[in-house]
């Protein structure tokens, strides 16, 4: 169930959040060291005991398979005030009679754990009356007592709040010092998830994942329209896996000043003329377009038709007529999943089904070569992996937001051009075009076919030159035509990391290694209609 348990629970639990201050590395890897250590309190929960009690109870109740995730999740936000969230949650997933069962809870009392495991098995038994094809899972390489920690230089939960406020304020002041800026704000959030996983396959591991999420917003009045504002945010450049160093080493004052200067250059935008324009996207815009319009279409649940009552279907279906055959983009495009990327937001030791992710190609030279899968969905791709001489396995894309794990967007990379192409090179031969720089909002329809994109940072290209900012720009295109119209990509020096996804939490966000790109003509529409 993609709708996360968190979404369906309570407002205050909408976001998984967690891990407290104190020591970074659990000394005893099975016992969380959390904020309580600083207060001389005992460890919060014994995650290993919870996991094993749940597995034992599930097996005793007749489960043929069970896995358990135990999370301690801590989030802290710093601005002019502070916010702190801490959650404990465990989810028990079982197979009985060939059907899934899942129950989550928070009570660490042994009788509560046993009851939750038994309810999961009972749910599976009942629901097996509605299943024709028993669930089968691809095997997972054995891991016992595995341990993974996001490399962190400075524990963000240990840094004095006033020091962080001073840094954020100096960045705000640097932006406000630029003449014409109306407002500049910077805040930061940190999250740590201590996750323990164990399954009846004998797999067990702990992971401590840490992420930093600086958030900025700079605004100035639009000189052409007194109530309109021009805004920029740096979030896509800043969010990363890691600790306080993500903020400390970001050169935030300089970045915010430069961003403010760019805002001021953009305060006289011209409302765009509708028509056909060539398109150049910077690395950030390209990442957003690829993610929403291509990578999202490779979600195996979507492809198999399991999500027709929600997001819909995918054009990259069925797998037999897609994998290795279907050109869905120009041959210059190769995409790889990248969950081992150092500093990546989706970088983990194991996914939420205990699978170590590998870096695998999703699209090679414009042709689909794999999907985002978990252990259940990968079982249907055996024919393809055999043909490729590969083991049938999950590539480790499963994510749990407190509920059932499901295939989700991993970190991914877009292969760069071998030529050392820069943004200027991509622009220089464009006669009439638009250049998108920065975040792009992208909405694909429920078949991933008709796509609409909007951006706040659009410049007009005329005869190979940027000639001024535009506003009210909307792009509308048919996905397959658009991606076949990808002409060229940037080279090594134009490569950038881009953080995408929301909210600003771990396991909801991912890091894309992206390059700028040039496309053939697209429809540009004007979104400035006022009546």
């Amino acid at each position: 169930v993609r709708v996360s348990a968190a979404d369906t629970r309570r407002e205050f639990l909408k976001l998984a959040s967690a891990a407290a201050a104190g020591l970074l590395l659990p000394r005893d890897r099975w016992l969380f060291r959390d904020g309580r250590a600083a207060f001389g309190e005992p460890p919060l929960i014994d995650a290993r005991a919870i996991a094993h009690q749940a597995l034992d109870a599930a097996q005793a109740a007749g489960a043929t398979f069970a896995d358990v995730r135990v999370d301690l999740d801590v989030w802290q936000g710093v601005g002019s005030s502070i916010g702190y969230q801490e959650t404990v949650n465990y989810g028990v997933r079982v197979l009985a009679n060939g059907q899934w069962g899942f129950v989550e809870g928070r009570d660490p009392a042994p009788e509560a754990i046993v009851s939750i495991a038994q309810r999961a098995v009972q749910q599976a038994r009942v629901n097996s009356a509605g299943r024709k094809t028993p669930v089968s899972l691809v095997p997972v390489p054995m891991v016992r007592d595995g341990h993974f920690v996001t490399p962190v230089v400075v524990d963000p939960f240990s840094v004095p709040v006033a020091e962080q406020q001073e840094l954020l304020e100096s960045a705000e002041n640097a932006a406000r010092a630029v003449a014409g800026i109306r407002s500049a704000n910077a805040t930061v959030g940190y999250q740590r998830i201590d996750r323990t996983f164990a399954s009846t396959d004998g797999i067990s591991m702990t992971q401590t994942l840490t992420g930093a999420f600086p958030q900025t917003l700079i605004a100035a009045p639009d000189a052409t329209d007194p109530v309109e504002v021009v805004t920029r945010a740096l979030d896509t450049e800043l969010w990363a896996g890691g600790g306080y160093e993500v903020l400390r080493d970001a050169r935030l004052p300089e970045r915010m000043r430069r961003s403010a200067e760019e805002v001021m250059r953009a305060t006289h935008p011209r409302s765009v003329d509708v028509g056909r324009y060539e398109l150049v996207a910077d690395a950030t815009a390209m990442a957003a377009l690829v993610e929403r319009s291509l990578v999202a279409a490779l979600d195996m649940d979507l492809v198999l038709g399991k999500r027709v009552n929600y997001d819909g279907t995918s054009f990259a279906a069925p797998p037999e007529q897609t994998l290795g055959i279907m050109p869905i983009a120009s041959p210059v495009l190769t995409l790889r999943a990248d969950r081992s990327l150092a500093g990546g937001l989706m970088t983990v030791g194991w996914d939420d089904e205990g699978v170590r992710p590998d870096d695998f190609p999703l699209i090679e030279h414009g042709i689909v070569s794999d999907y985002l899968t978990g252990r259940e969905d990968a079982a249907g791709l055996g024919w393809w992996y055999t043909k490729r001489g590969q083991a049938t396995r999950s590539h480790g894309c499963a994510v749990s937001w407190g509920g059932h794990p499901f295939p989700f967007i991993p970190n991914f990379s877009i292969d760069q051009s071998t030529a050392d192409t820069s943004v200027d090179d991509l622009i220089k031969d464009v006669k009439k075009g638009v250049y998108l720089s920065g975040y792009v909002g992208v909405s694909a329809d429920f078949g991933m076919l008709n796509v609409y994109a909007r951006s706040d940072a659009v410049q007009e290209i005329r005869n190979g030159k940027l000639v001024g900012y535009l506003k009210n720009v909307g792009l509308q295109f048919q996905a397959k035509t658009f991606w076949k119209g990808l002409i060229a990509l940037g080279g090594a020096r134009s490569r950038q990391r881009v953080a995408l996804g929301n909210p600003a939490r771990l396991l909801y966000t991912y890091t894309v290694r992206s390059v700028p790109a040039r496309f053939r003509e697209v429809n540009v529409v004007n979104t400035g209609r006022t009546q």
Binding site: T8, R36, E41, W100, F102, G130, G441
Partner: protein, 461 residues
């Protein structure tokens, strides 16, 4: 097995008082106590895919130390006093370490006595712990009916039971509880050319009719097979209450006076100020909220820890016969400065009053137009105009000479409720609509709208 019912009034109060007792500055503090349980079952490809159950209690709180403010929340209630004390202590330590310079706090009005909660919000204490058998039964019926019709289906049943409470040290205490039930399904023809949807959401489980929903989705799937393309453009559109509801839901959060005054809302006046007292919609349009609304009700209070406020809701008519009557300001003083009585909102709910035309009459009086069952994949483009884009889905038909004549390919729209609700021809009876998981509580009518803008076609089914 531990009890799965939400916390009672007495237990909430006792827990809240304990949390206040852990605080070092409880005189300027608030505590929220919430609990909730949910259960769901989902099917796709004509078989049950999975289910889930869960939930539990949690607390949230905020506290002010002079110019320093902190808020916290945790679901570690089952872990006991030590855990909760530690979360409070951690939050206080962080707040006290703030550099309080430059922090500003909006003024707060004194709290009013708690309002009575709407009894219609609570139907059945067992909803949240609805056993899997009770969830499976309607799903099996739906799947069997779909099989018999030669259709492929997917759908979901969701049931939740919730409780909220808020407490301050001087004894202000509010408590409320509500249930939520949802049933939705999509039926598709095996050739993939036809698709239909139906969904229901509400508090009273006994009012849900999964069989009728299944029939409606199946009927739409069969009737939408092999759609033809019509040219995009401006059309007269007959919209179901669900389609209108999707447009209405984007208005729910827009009645904030400060936002309007700063130029960032559809109720900002070009050149400054807001549109209070002006005609903003066709005169058939009345938009309101009422915690006691029998169909679109909600709890009369909400504690928002990050804002340090307990919001108390009363009935408000935002728009009456097309005129913007009031906006929400955080305090009485600010509201008075705009010549308004203080109202608290917006809230995640909105009712659009209905009219007397039935949807059949709307179709019968349309010479050439489009019938829209549902909008999907909506993206808001402009906060200022509510200009948005999305696509039609699960039942789009051509209307010719007062009759639905053929299914048509789905189309992308680019429009706004600010435009569409100025181009109203007729409104039908209003009812609670399901516009998506986790969306606002929306009551909306079916409607005929002229000059609604469709801009491109899609092959998505």
């Amino acid at each position: 097995m531990p009890p799965l019912s939400v916390m009672s009034r007495e237990d909430s109060l006792a827990l809240g008082q304990r949390v206040l007792g852990y605080m070092s500055a409880p005189d300027d503090a608030r505590v929220g106590i919430s609990s909730g349980y949910y259960s769901e079952t989902e099917f796709a490809l004509n078989q049950v895919q999975d289910g889930a159950d869960g939930g539990g209690p949690g607390i949230s709180f905020d506290e002010r130390f002079g110019q320093k403010f902190g808020w916290g929340e945790t679901d570690e209630v089952p872990l006991g006093e030590t855990a909760l004390r530690a979360v409070v202590a951690r939050t206080e330590a962080l707040a006290r370490a703030l550099d309080g310079r430059g922090a500003t706090f909006p003024a707060r009005d004194p709290l009013r006595p708690p309002a009575e909660a709407n009894a219609a919000l609570w139907s059945d204490a067992t909803v949240g712990e609805m056993p899997p058998e009770r969830r499976l039964a309607p799903i099996l019926s739906s799947m069997n009916a779909l099989e018999r019709a030669g259709l492929t289906g997917a759908g979901r049943i969701f049931a939740g039971t919730y409780q909220d409470a808020a407490l301050t040290k001087d004894g202000h205490f509010e408590y409320g509880r509500y249930t939520r039930y949802q049933y939705s399904l999509t039926a598709r023809t095996k050739d993939g050319t036809g698709s239909g949807w139906a969904g229901w959401t509400g508090e009273d489980v006994s009012k849900a009719d999964p069989q009728a929903l299944t029939e409606r989705a199946s009927d739409l799937a069969l009737r939408t097979r092999n759609p033809v393309a019509v040219e995009p453009g401006r059309y007269t559109v007959v919209m179901t209450a669900e389609a209108v509801g999707a447009l209405v839901s984007s208005l729910a959060s827009m009645f904030d006076g400060s936002r309007a005054d700063s130029g960032l809302s559809p109720f900002s006046r070009p050149g400054g100020g807001n549109k209070l007292g002006l005609k903003v919609f066709d005169e058939q349009v009345t938009l309101s909220i009422d915690p006691m609304d029998p169909e679109g009700g909600f709890l009369p209070f909400q504690y928002v820890a990050p804002a340090g406020r307990i919001l108390q809701y009363r009935p408000v008519t935002w728009v009456e016969r097309g005129n913007l009557k009031t906006l929400s300001y955080p305090t009485q003083a600010q509201a008075a400065a705009h010549g308004l009585e203080s109202v608290v909102g917006p809230v995640n709910a909105l009712r659009m009053a209905g009219g007397s035309t039935t949807i059949d009459e709307m179709i019968a009086s349309t010479t050439r137009g489009i019938y829209v069952t549902r909008f999907s994949s909506i993206m808001l483009i402009s906060q200022r105009t509510l200009f948005q884009t999305g696509v039609t889905r699960d039942g789009t038909f051509l209307i010719e000479h007062g009759k639905i004549t053929k299914p048509i390919k789905n189309m992308r729209f680019e429009d706004s409720p600010m435009f569409a609700f100025n181009n109203l021809i007729a409104l039908g009876p209003a009812r609670r609509v399901y516009v998506g998981d986790g969306s606002p509580v929306i009551v909306a009518p079916c409607a005929t709208v002229r000059d609604f803008a469709f801009t491109s076609l899609t092959d998505a089914v």
